[in-house]
Symmetry: C2
Subunit: 84 residues, 2 copies
């Protein structure tokens, strides 16, 4: 069994109004040192296979096809074995 | 300058209907080995300080006060120095 974590973010060239709104909220709490806030999606999943190669391949294919809109978003992921 | 990444997820005891919907989408693509899909938020930010302790403290306080609803959600974060 493997566990994958996928991080989907808007590409750097795309404006992130939700991030800007959160940044304003952070500043209104008094944290003026914080900047360039960006919001993304975080997806966790279990993959029932014994092969790391399979688990990574599935995570990549699922991210490409379903989780990320590659026109506006980019993603990264980690895949680690689960102790059973 | 430090860069923090915050991962906010629903607590394990809370149902995640969005995750279930994505899981059904993944299964309909033919990936039956995938289960326990959970969706969360991913927040990145820059923090303009030279102290790792300050950067981690600010990230924790911002997460507690603004980013996570601690009744339903839990979070983890990483804080790393940025090469300038």
């Amino acid at each position: 069994m493997f566990h994958s974590k996928v991080f989907v973010t808007l590409k750097k060239s795309i404006l992130d109004p939700q991030g800007k709104a959160v940044e304003q909220g952070i500043h209104s709490l008094g944290f003026d040192a914080v900047g360039d806030v960006r919001i993304g999606k975080y997806i966790e999943m279990d993959i029932d296979t014994n092969s790391r190669e399979d688990a990574e391949g599935m995570t990549k294919e699922i991210s490409d096809k379903l989780l990320a809109n590659l026109i506006m978003e980019s993603y990264s992921f980690t895949t680690e074995p689960v102790k059973e």
